[in-house]
């Protein structure tokens, strides 16, 4: 009875959803609303106007920079929430204080390969971050790669050694790097051009536009990596 009711409800729910999907404009159709108004403008003038050859970067960091500013803040807030929950649990149960690294035997193959590859992974991550305004990529992607690198390094060398690479005081600053650079660039725009997150518009200031974009990319990359690594370290901490 319960199963039949569930199935019936699911079908009832699926019907309007499928109906709505059928109403969507066909994928890639040039006459559909999202492609008719702002897209042509982005594609035609984005590279000159917004400071990056990669139009995706133009949209997420310049045209819709305010949106991305909010997203970056959300990511930081999620770290704050994770830390609040995990550190709170540890404090209340009194466990985990001074627990050594998770004693996981790492196979020599894994250890060797990670040690061999990590400089190349780091180089690739830096390339992805810095090249984000020319080719697909950018702060979010590069940051995720650095975060993954920090995690595999932790697995091989142990947490305390990996954490020692980044002093605790610096770590705080790195975790907040993404919203911080965004707000700094935003306020610079406010002071210099009259609007929060206003980018320089004049043609002779193209270098400044690009410089701001790269600054934000680096901020997002470093901040994202620090957040991912911190979540992993905090989760691994309490036994």
């Amino acid at each position: 009875m319960k199963r039949a009711l569930t199935a019936a409800l699911l079908v009832l729910l699926a019907l309007p959803l499928l109906y709505a999907v059928a109403q969507l404009p066909p994928h890639g159709s040039p006459s559909s609303p999202p492609y008719a108004h702002v897209s042509p403008r982005y594609l035609e003038r984005g590279p000159d106007e917004a400071g990056a050859e990669n139009v995706v970067t133009d949209v997420i960091l310049n045209y819709r920079g305010f949106d991305t500013n909010g997203e970056v803040t959300v990511i930081f807030t999620s770290l704050a929430a994770v830390l609040a929950v995990l550190l709170g649990v540890r404090k209340s149960t009194g466990e985990g204080a001074g627990v050594p690294d998770a004693v996981l035997p790492v196979s020599p193959v894994v250890s060797f390969v990670v040690r061999l590859l990590s400089p190349f992974i780091a180089l690739f991550a830096i390339y992805v971050i810095l090249n984000g305004h020319v080719s697909p990529g950018g702060g979010f992607q590069g940051g995720a790669i650095i975060g993954a690198l920090a995690i595999v390094t932790t697995v091989v060398v142990g947490r305390s050694q990996a954490e020692a690479l980044v002093p605790a005081r610096v770590r705080r600053l790195l975790q907040v790097a993404a919203p911080l650079t965004f707000v700094c660039v935003g306020i610079a725009g406010l002071l210099m051009f009259g609007d929060y997150l206003a980018f320089p518009r004049a043609a002779d200031l193209a270098w400044l536009r690009t410089a701001w974009l790269i600054a934000i990319e680096i901020g997002i990359g470093v901040g994202g990596a620090a957040i991912l690594a911190t979540i992993f370290w905090t989760m691994g901490e309490q036994e």
Partner: protein, 80 residues
């Protein structure tokens, strides 16, 4: 050809999604879930969104999987 590729990827996605729910072994479930992310990554790439594909590969297949593994390590491996 392109359509056949699309359909194959989408069928694989559905198969992975079902397998994730059906698997009682959480470790296996997580591994299948990372496969789901990899297939999704191919779908993004095929739809012309390399930016999203990179994020999906790094976060979806990589970091999420690791975080799930840590969480399983802290709890139990079998679903009750």
């Amino acid at each position: 050809m392109s359509r056949a590729f699309d359909v194959t990827l989408l069928l694989l996605l559905i198969a992975c999604a079902l397998a994730v729910i059906r698997t009682k072994d959480l470790l296996g479930s997580v591994v299948i879930f990372s496969t789901y992310s990899l297939v999704m990554c191919l779908v993004w790439q095929h739809r012309g969104a390399p930016d999203v594909a990179m994020t999906e590969a790094a976060v979806g297949a990589g970091i999420t999987t690791v975080l799930f593994l840590v969480a399983i390590g802290k709890t139990v491996r079998r679903e009750r």
